[in-house]
């Protein structure tokens, strides 16, 4: 592009080569730095294509769970195994006893919708620990008690 002013000419140059290598590398590095995958820990679920489990209590016909140990948590964070109140540190022992009697059983975590997420994770922790201790592959179901 040229701008003519009086009898003078100004050139607007665009030279790709002169795009400084330092700037470009800074931009590329920034993008890489922003996208570095972090090592995360947690629980990974791989769901089958079945109805969403939050509706589980209402869809018992579609999603039947049988031969399970009922492990429930109320909105206050109190734990129950087979409807019996249990202290947190005793739950693993209780669940182990039930699983030793019949190792084919699964654990069905039933949690109140108003309970905090911390208790759901705690329930997972206890359940996984129980299965690990008995060297069994975890079979866990979750149900949510709606008000």
């Amino acid at each position: 592009m040229k701008i003519f002013k009086e009898n003078k000419t100004i050139d607007f140059k665009f030279d790709f080569v002169s795009l400084s290598v330092a700037n470009l590398s800074f931009i590329i590095l920034s993008f890489f730095a922003l996208n570095i995958p972090k090592k995360e820990k947690g629980i990974l679920f791989a769901f089958e294509k079945k109805p969403a489990f939050a509706q589980l209590p209402y869809q018992t016909q579609k999603y039947e769970v049988s031969n399970y140990i009922k492990f429930s948590i109320n909105d206050k964070g109190e734990f129950f195994v087979e409807d019996e109140p249990v202290k947190i540190d005793e739950t693993t022992y209780k669940l182990k006893n039930y699983l030793t009697e019949d190792s084919t059983r699964s654990i069905y975590i039933i949690i109140h919708q108003d309970a905090s997420y911390e208790y759901l994770i705690k329930a997972f922790d206890i359940t996984i620990e129980t299965f690990k201790a008995l060297k069994l592959s975890p079979k866990i179901y979750i149900g949510v008690i709606k008000r």
């Binding site: 665009f14 947690g42 294509k49 969403a52 919708q113 997420y117 997972f124």
Partner: protein, 135 residues
């Protein structure tokens, strides 16, 4: 008497447009950083529940993170969502059905919020969902 001065011939002046391109790129990077930093700051205030028997979550493949700061503050792909239907917009538009979604939620969030988010993701067709925990 008029004096005739012979000025030396000047080179034609020029302006390099390269700096404009650089500036545009730097602004773009800056915007991305601002969004990411805000997202990172939010993820820092989340108090993750501790899990002793946790597993390493593979993050090499397509991964997206959902931050649940509290029952009313949820972020997906760096953006705050107003309703759970926004999740459909975010994930369906990008046709990212084969991705894994990592849920980073505060330990005080109600189970109901977590389940609703998971339900929505499963309705969209996302079947790989992970809970990210601390400890």
């Amino acid at each position: 008497m008029a004096v005739k001065i012979n000025f030396p011939k000047r080179e034609i002046p020029s302006i390099s447009v390269v700096s404009l391109a650089n500036l545009a790129l730097i602004i773009a990077v800056f915007m991305v950083i601002v969004v990411k930093v805000e997202y990172y700051e939010k993820s820092k205030i989340i108090n993750l529940p501790k899990l002793n028997n946790s597993f390493k979550i593979p993050t090499q493949s397509k991964v997206s993170t959902i931050l649940i700061v509290n029952d009313n503050e949820i972020y997906a792909e760096g953006f705050r969502i107003k309703s759970l239907d926004d999740l459909s917009t975010i994930y369906l538009m990008k046709s990212q059905k084969d991705i894994s979604v990592l849920i980073k939620a505060d330990k005080n969030v109600k189970v109901n919020t977590i389940i609703e988010v998971m339900d929505k993701l499963r309705q969209i067709g996302i079947n790989k969902i992970a809970f990210i925990t601390g400890g």
